[in-house]
Amino acid sequence: MQSNRLGWILLAPTLVILFFFGVVPFFYVLWLSFHQWNPFALDPAVVYNGADNFRALVFDNGFLASLGVTIAFVFFAVLTELIVGYLLAQAFMKEFPGKAVFRTIHTLPLIMAPIIVGSIWKLMTTPSIGIIPSLLASWFGFDLNIGTSAVAAFTVTVIMDVWHWTPLVTLTLIAALVSLPADPFEQAQIDGANKRQIFWHITLPMIAPALLATVFIRLMDALRTVDEVLMLTGGGPGSATRYLGVHIFKEVFPKTNYGYGSAVSIIVLYLTIVACWLLYVALIAPRNKKA
C-alpha cells in the first residue's frame, strides 16, 4: 500500500496538468459542439442546438472540400514519407564516409517548430523573391506560383511536410531495422529468395509493427496540420490547401464560430480514430488473431 500511495503522489502533478489541459478542454469542446455560440453575433448567448452543427457539416461544401484535400494531402505526404524514410533508413544501415554528419543534418528538420518550417518554405517559394521559383524558372522555364496555382500550392505543402517529417520515419525505421535478427535474412538467402522477395516476405512483415506505429503517428499529425500550411499558403489559393486543421482554425478564430468549429474538431478526431482503427483491423489484428 505504501508504494502504491507514493506512486499516486508522484503521478499527481502530471495527472492534475493532464486533467486541466487535456480532459477538461476535450469535454468543453465536446459540450460546445452541441451548442450554437458566436460571441460576436447578434445573439451572443450559448444556445443548445442538439446535433444541428453536425447536421450542417454534412451539407457544408467548405467542410467537404476541406476533407477531400486533407485526405489527398495525408495520402501523398505519408506515403512519400514512408518510402523516402525507408530508403534513407536502409542507406543509413550501410557504412559510408560522412555518415554521422549526414545523419545529423538529416534529422535537423525534426527539431524545428512547424511555424518556422512554414516561414522558411514561404520565403523559399514566394514568387519573385523565393529561391525555388527563381531556380525553376531559370533552369526549366517552369513558373511555380503557389499564390495562383492550386496544384503548385498543394504539391509544395506535401513536399514541405515530407521535408519536415521524413526524418522521424527514418529514425523509427532505423531502430526497427537495427533490432532485426540476422538469421532469418541469411536463412532466406539460403532458401533461395532474391532481394525483392526478401523485402516483401521477410523485411516488410518483420518491421510491420514499427512501420504501422509510424503510420499512426504520421497520420494523426498530418490530419491536424495547421501552422505550417497556414503560414505557407493560408489555405489558398481558393481552398486548395484548406486542410481540416486550417479549416477549423478559420471557423473558430476569424469567424468566432465556436460551436461549429468544435463540431468539426470532434468529427476530425472521430475520423482519425476510424482511420487508425481501420489500419489496425486490416493489418495488425489478423496477425494477432492467428498467433
Partner: protein
C-alpha cells in the same frame, strides 16, 4: 545430391588469418561432422560452404561446380541454424513451404511436400501455429522440415541441437541420423559436442584454430588419434595423459612420469630410452584388481551402469571407468591394470602420435 570439395581454403579478416588452408573431401551422400572447440573455425567453414561468408583463398566445389562466387540462393543447399532462424511472422506450414514458394512451385505441390515433411517430422498438428507457440524441439523440427522439402544437394547443420535439453538432444540425434539414412543426402554438420560427432558421423573432421587436426571415421579417430589434441577431444570421459620419459635398462623399458609414477609399456612401442613422451590411456581401458599400478583413490563416481574412479599417485591423477561396482573408499590403495594394446604414446614436444 552431390559431394563437396573444400580445397586449401583460407579466411582472413583484414590482417587476421583465421583459417589456414583447410582441405576436406566429402563424398556424395556422406554424413560429415565438423567438430572442435568454440573458435576453431567450424561454423565459419560451414558459412563459407553456404555462401554467407566469402572465402579469402582456395576453392569450394559442390558437385562438379566451383561455387566461390555463387550466391547462397543459387547453391542448392539447405541449412539449419543453431537459432533455427524461423520466420516469426509465418506459420509452420508457411515456414516449411518458404523455399518452395521462392522457387515459384505450384501451390498444390507446395502443400503436398509440406504435408509430407510435416508427417515425417510429426508436425502435422502444428501446421497453423506460429513459431512462438512452439517448444524448442518443435521449432527445431520446423527448421529441419524447411530443409528437407527442398531436396537440396547438401544439408548444412550448424549446431542444431545445442539449444535443446539433454533428453531431446538424444532423440533428435537419432532422428537426424535416421533421416540421413532415408534421404541419403550429403550432410555437413557442425558441433562442439564430440558425442554427437561420434554417434552421427560417417566421417569426422576435428578442427582447431582454423586448421584440420585429423579426418577419419569415428572409431578410427577413437582408436588412432594422430595427436594429443584429437586424443583428448574424442572420447568421453577424456583420455588420461601423463607426461614423462622412457626409462629402462637391459632391454626392459618402462614409462616414468615427472611425478615418479611408473607405467608399463606395450612391447612393440617404437620409443627409445630417454625419450620424452606423453602417455595416453583411456579411462575405459583400465581395469581394477589385485596388483597392477598402485594408486590412491580420490573420488568414486558411481552412475549405476558403470563407475568412474579418480585415483592419484604423487602428482599424477588418472581416472578409470569400470563396469563393476567399487567398494574402495577415498584414500585407500587400489590397483590399476592398463590394457597395453590400448596405450597411446605421443611425442613430448610435437604432441604427435609415435
Amino acid at each position: 545430391m552431390a559431394g563437396v570439395n573444400i580445397d586449401d581454403v583460407y579466411k582472413r579478416y583484414g590482417s587476421v588469418q583465421v583459417m589456414h588452408g583447410v582441405s576436406i573431401d566429402i563424398e556424395d551422400g556422406e554424413f560429415v561432422v565438423l567438430v572442435g572447440p568454440s573458435g576453431c573455425g567450424k561454423s565459419t567453414l560451414l558459412r563459407m560452404l553456404a555462401g554467407l561468408e566469402p572465402i579469402s583463398d582456395g576453392t569450394i566445389k559442390i558437385g562438379e561446380k566451383v561455387v566461390n562466387e555463387v550466391l547462397p540462393k543459387d547453391r542448392d543447399i539447405a541449412m539449419v541454424f543453431q537459432s533455427y532462424a524461423l520466420y516469426p511472422h509465418k506459420t509452420v506450414a508457411q515456414n516449411i513451404g518458404f523455399p518452395l514458394k521462392m522457387a515459384k512451385r505450384p501451390k498444390a505441390e507446395i502443400d503436398e511436400k509440406v504435408g509430407r515433411a510435416a508427417e515425417i517430422l510429426d508436425l502435422t498438428k502444428y501446421l497453423d501455429r506460429y513459431p512462438k507457440a512452439l517448444s524448442g524441439g518443435q521449432r527445431q523440427r520446423v527448421a529441419m522440415g524447411r530443409a528437407i522439402v527442398r531436396d537440396p544437394k547438401v544439408f548444412l547443420f550448424d549446431e542444431p541441437l545445442s539449444n535443446l535439453d539433454a533428453k531431446l538432444r538424444v532423440s533428435m540425434r537419432m532422428e537426424i541420423k535416421e533421416l540421413h539414412q532415408r534421404l541419403k543426402t550429403t550432410i555437413v554438420y557442425v558441433t562442439h559436442d564430440q558425442i554427437e560427432a561420434m554417434t552421427m558421423a560417417d566421417k569426422i573432421v576435428v578442427m582447431r584454430d582454423g586448421r584440420v587436426e585429423q579426418i577419419g571415421a569415428p572409431l578410427d579417430l577413437y582408436d588412432n588419434p594422430q595427436n594429443v589434441f584429437v586424443a583428448g577431444f574424442i572420447g568421453s570421459p577424456s583420455m588420461n595423459f601423463v607426461k614423462g620419459r622412457i626409462d629402462g635398462a637391459n632391454g626392459t623399458r618402462q614409462f616414468v612420469s615427472e611425478g615418479g609414477l611408473v607405467l608399463p609399456l606395450p612391447a612393440q612401442a617404437s620409443v627409445a630410452v630417454g625419450q620424452e613422451v606423453i602417455y595416453g590411456i583411456r579411462p575405459e581401458h583400465i581395469s581394477i584388481g589385485e596388483g597392477g599400478v598402485a594408486m590412491d583413490v580420490v573420488v568414486i563416481e558411481p552412475t549405476g551402469s558403470e563407475t568412474q574412479v579418480f585415483a592419484r599417485s604423487g602428482t599424477d591423477l588418472i581416472d578409470a571407468v569400470v563396469k563393476d561396482r567399487i567398494a574402495a573408499r577415498p584414500g585407500e590403495k587400489i590397483g590399476f591394470h592398463i590394457d597395453l594394446s590400448r596405450v597411446h604414446l605421443f611425442d613430448g614436444k610435437t604432441q604427435q602420435r609415435l
